[in-house]
């Protein structure tokens, strides 16, 4: 393959923010030049990136690929294509599949299927407990050897405090984080949306903020007790942000993530009973959003992760109470997040950090250096137009999941090309590659 | 839009007097008579006729009101339903002579609806129709027994009856509505 020069874009990486050009040779980043500089060797194809942002490929620490078991909702093939369209070159899939990813065989299945049918990097997350039942520890050692980057029973909280303690403790041997979906199920049973004024108006049972905060507090106490690595999945409330902030001040080893939808949509989206706005944890209030954005800015919240949760149209075409929770988010992530940049809530550099080198830091080095455009590193690059307006058309998604509350919305900011391991895995029609 | 007054307050007064005389003439048994005004403007007209009949004939005739909204044959095609007013006939109508009173007789459909409404309320011996204006263009075999004024009109014209009780003034006017221009 001929070298590819990405020319004239604004290159943003950790410590770098410069207009220039990036050369990819044999699948690796080989040269970076500022301004009008051109690479020493003259033989390369050119992708014109004037007016576009060039940054490391996005990393999603939390998504659901549904394979094995629920292939009608998504497969590794369709999920990775959706990821590519969304600018993600590395996605970490949760183990709530059927069968769950709690042993070597299932992890190897994910790895080989991804190698065969995926178009971007898929990193597996293993279960905390056997069968995801929340009773006994899964064989974490075996899972670690097989290549998981974290453990989680996501979909469900690790409610058994004794088990969570053991998980945080035992995982220290492998230096892998325990990702918890924080929800006190005794308080949320039958809940459909955030508990508050809108749930009262709509006559829907609510999911109170306290249900998340209780388990966040518990997990932080256990992380402090054990010294294990804790990662809080999809933080949504002001109270949770405060708890995590104080824990970090105390030196507890915790990281946290927030989703694009929790940063941009409130519970008012549920008015009209749109099942596409039904998600767990639920969409909350303006006040919570304000706290989450502040948390991103002061690093209380380390990363942004999509919690991409595709469902079939039939699944969501029913009474609100009966619809499954979940938003298909890979392909709208950047577009919806850019509204925060356009409104001045966070800077573009911060946003890119939360999608690239910060998640890479949590994943560590076992799959090489990720989330960077350093010389010599496999070239995972995302090229996007920060100002391009487009209308969300779920029918055009590569994902099988068309379940998004953003259908028909106008977003400002769009991925134009995605390069994984030096190869163009997604390219908008308006992008041309000129033979050199 | 060009408007021409066809009947003034005086014209209407005289016409109602004349109709009252005609009703007295043709109905031997005034005691069996009930005047029923069709909402909206038939109601004050019926009241005036009753007053005239009492004045000329010496008999106090009961006056009822009839709402025909629920009996219209065009409800399905209406975006907004007409306001339903009260039907209130102060005596039983079985075996009685009813004079339906309305302002304008046009296609005849309102009268058809009024007759259906009446027959749901009982079985009159006789139904007659008194109208202030007959403007022709019948779509059903209906005719009025008492006509205030015949006003031949085209479909592009509108006959507007105004009465003091409902519109603040007594007059009948004919309004020419603009004809749609071809090939604009």
């Amino acid at each position: 393959m001929k070298p590819l020069l990405i020319q004239g874009g604004r290159i943003i990486d950790e410590g770098i923010d410069v207009t220039g050009s990036l050369l990819i040779t044999e699948g690796k980043v080989s040269w970076l030049g500022k301004g009008e500089e051109t690479p020493p060797q003259p033989d390369y194809d050119v992708l014109h990136a004037q007016g576009l942002i060039v940054c490391p490929g996005f990393i999603d620490l939390h998504c659901h690929l549904r394979q094995p078991g629920d292939e009608e909702k998504e497969t590794i093939a369709t999920g990775t294509r959706a990821a590519a369209r969304g600018g993600f070159t590395t996605i970490c899939c949760m183990p709530n599949t059927n069968p769950p990813l709690d042993n070597q065989t299932t992890i190897e299945f994910i790895r080989s299927k991804s190698a065969l049918e995926g178009v971007v990097r898929v990193l597996p997350i293993g279960c905390i407990s056997k069968g995801r039942k929340g009773e006994e520890l899964a064989e974490m050692g075996e899972l670690a050897s097989a290549g998981v980057i974290a453990f989680s029973d996501d979909g469900e909280p690790a409610l058994n405090s004794y088990l969570m303690r053991q998980a945080l403790d035992y995982s220290r041997a492998f230096d892998l984080p325990i990702i918890d979906h924080c929800e006190d199920k005794a308080l949320t049973e039958g809940g459909q949306m955030n508990e508050g004024i809108i749930s009262t108006r709509l006559g829907l049972r609510g999911i109170p903020s306290a249900a998340e905060e209780i388990i966040v507090a518990r997990d932080l106490a256990l992380a402090q007790l054990t010294g294990g690595r804790l990662h809080i999945a999809h933080v949504t409330t002001e109270g949770s942000v405060d708890l995590i902030r104080r824990a970090k001040d105390k030196g507890i080893k915790v990281t946290a993530e927030v989703t694009p939808h929790h940063l941009t949509l409130t519970e008012e989206r549920v008015i009209g009973y749109d099942t596409n706005a039904k998600v767990n944890p639920p969409l909350r209030t303006k006040q919570d959003i304000k706290a989450l954005i502040q948390g991103l800015s002061d690093n209380t919240i380390d990363i942004i992760a999509t919690d991409h949760a595709p469902h079939t149209e039939a699944d969501k075409l029913c009474e609100f109470d009966l619809a499954p929770f979940g938003i298909s988010g890979l392909e709208t992530a950047l577009g919806s997040l850019m509204s925060l940049v356009h409104d001045g809530e966070i800077s573009l550099v911060t946003l890119i950090a939360k999608l690239t080198h910060e998640p890479a830091r949590i994943i560590g080095n076992r799959y090489g250096r990720l989330g960077t455009l350093a010389i010599g590193v496999p070239a995972d690059v995302t090229i996007f137009d920060p100002a391009l307006e487009w209308v969300v058309e779920p029918k055009a998604f590569a994902s099988k999941g068309k379940n998004t509350p953003l259908a028909g919305e106008r977003l400002k900011g769009r991925v134009m090309a995605t390069i994984y391991h030096g190869e163009l895995v997604y390219k908008d029609d308006s992008i041309t590659v000129k033979e050199g | 839009m060009p408007t021409k007054v066809i009947m003034t307050e005086e014209d209407i007064k005289r016409t109602l007097a004349r109709i009252a005389h005609e009703i007295i003439e043709r109905n031997e048994l005034l005691q069996d008579l009930i005047l029923v005004g069709v909402h909206t403007r038939g109601v004050p007209l019926a009241k005036h006729l009753a007053a005239n009949i009492e004045s000329f004939g010496g008999v106090k005739i009961p006056v009822g009101t009839l709402d025909i909204s629920l009996y219209r044959d065009d409800l399905s095609s209406l975006e907004l339903k007409p306001l339903v007013k009260l039907t209130d006939i102060p005596a039983t109508i079985d075996g009685k002579s009813i004079v339906l009173v309305d302002d304008v007789l046009y296609t005849g459909r309102s009268t058809r609806a009024a007759m259906d409404a009446l027959t749901d309320l009982g079985r009159p011996r006789l139904i007659q129709l008194a109208v202030l204006v007959d403007r022709g263009h019948r779509e059903l075999p209906i005719r009025a027994d008492y006509v205030g004024k015949n006003i031949p009109s085209s479909k592009h014209e509108e006959i507007k009856v105004k009465l003091k009780e409902t519109d603040g003034v007594d007059e009948v006017a004919i309004i020419t509505t603009p004809v749609a221009k071809e090939g604009r």
Binding site: E195, T200, G203, Y273, F320 | L70, E79, L83, D120, L121
Partner: protein, 327 residues
């Protein structure tokens, strides 16, 4: 039953009405509610005739689709539809193909294909009628969805009040009982406040939904008073709600006995309200639980009027639904 002679405000202008469906009372304006009153009065006149039938909805097919058992509401709608000469089909969703797993959307599609013009729907899940409006052309009338709304009940309650009082604005209404799980309460709160009536809610704190009593544009303004005696002071309208006996099992109340001691509407407590206060209950009544038999059958009770007004109100609503059914 003695009613004061009411001079209804007769609107002479073209009626304002833009509802193709009747889903909730929260988007009804005061004028639209007055139009319902006015039309209901005419319908009551028809119900006083020997032949209680008019040809208004002849040729229209009305389907009652009830996913929850109900005798009185279904019967009320059926009578209303038949009095307007519509063809009525009752679908008991509990025993039909729905029980075998046919989805709501599929059932509605079948009804559309069979030519239903109006579907009267009762469903245990809030929001179900809203989904219906997205997937079929027929008009949807909500006969109760989950905890959310029961607009026709609120309208008949309002009409019953209207028949007795010269003016609604400034009256004081108290709703006592399980507000949290009551769609009747929710719809009444909206309807009463829209008509300028001051609403007080009286119930155990565990049965009060979050947010009511706070100032927020998404919720109507109400007072909260957990003490029944204080709540009843000077009330013109007292509504008691049915207490589901399961509420005690789900831990929301320590016992039914305690609920009765604190919240039962007795004659002594009712005496705190105005002398001409009216007592409402949406039915069916748990006599001896939320209301004493003496009050339920007493001179201030309008519970039976609510039922008879129900048919007239529903006739008015079926008539008023916008005519252009086929979009």
């Amino acid at each position: 039953m003695r009613t004061t002679q009411v001079k209804p405000k007769v609107p002479e202008t073209t009626p304002v009405w833009r509802h193709h469906h009747i889903l909730d009372i929260d988007d009804f304006t005061g004028e639209e509610i007055e139009l319902v009153f006015h039309t209901t009065k005419a319908m009551k006149e028809i119900l006083s005739r020997p032949i209680k039938r008019v040809p208004t909805l002849r040729g229209k097919t009305i389907v009652t689709l009830f996913y929850e058992p109900s005798t009185r509401t279904r019967l009320s709608f059926e009578l209303a539809a038949k009095n307007l000469s519509a063809d009525v089909v009752n679908l008991n969703a509990l025993v039909s193909s729905v029980a075998k797993g046919e989805s709501l959307v599929d059932t509605l599609g079948t009804l559309q294909a069979l030519g239903a013009d109006i579907i009267v729907m009762r469903h245990p899940h809030s929001g179900a009628p809203y989904i219906a409006t997205r997937y079929i052309e027929a008009s949807i009338v909500n006969a109760g969805d989950g905890w959310h709304a029961h607009p026709t009940q609120a309208l008949l309650d309002l009409y019953t009040l209207y028949e007795h009082k010269e003016s609604l604005k400034g009256l004081k209404a108290v709703i006592i009982g399980d507000i949290m799980h009551s769609r009747v309460a929710r719809s009444n709160i909206w309807g009463l406040t829209t008509m300028g009536i001051e609403v007080t809610l009286c119930c155990p704190p565990t049965l009060l939904p979050v947010g009511l009593g706070e100032e927020h544009r998404q919720l109507p303004p109400v007072n909260i008073e957990p003490n029944i005696e204080l709540a009843l002071d000077g009330a013109d309208m007292v509504m008691t709600l049915r207490l589901q006996l399961e509420r005690q099992k789900s831990g929301l109340l320590p016992s039914i006995r305690e609920y009765i001691q604190l919240y039962q509407l007795t004659e002594a407590r009712l005496a705190r309200a105005k002398a001409d206060a009216l007592v409402f209950h949406p039915g069916p009544v748990n006599e001896g639980v939320e209301i004493s038999p003496a009050v339920a059958h007493g001179p201030q009770s309008v519970i039976n009027e609510q039922v008879s007004n129900g048919v007239a109100v529903r006739m008015a609503l079926l008539y008023l639904l916008t005519g252009s059914q086929k979009r």
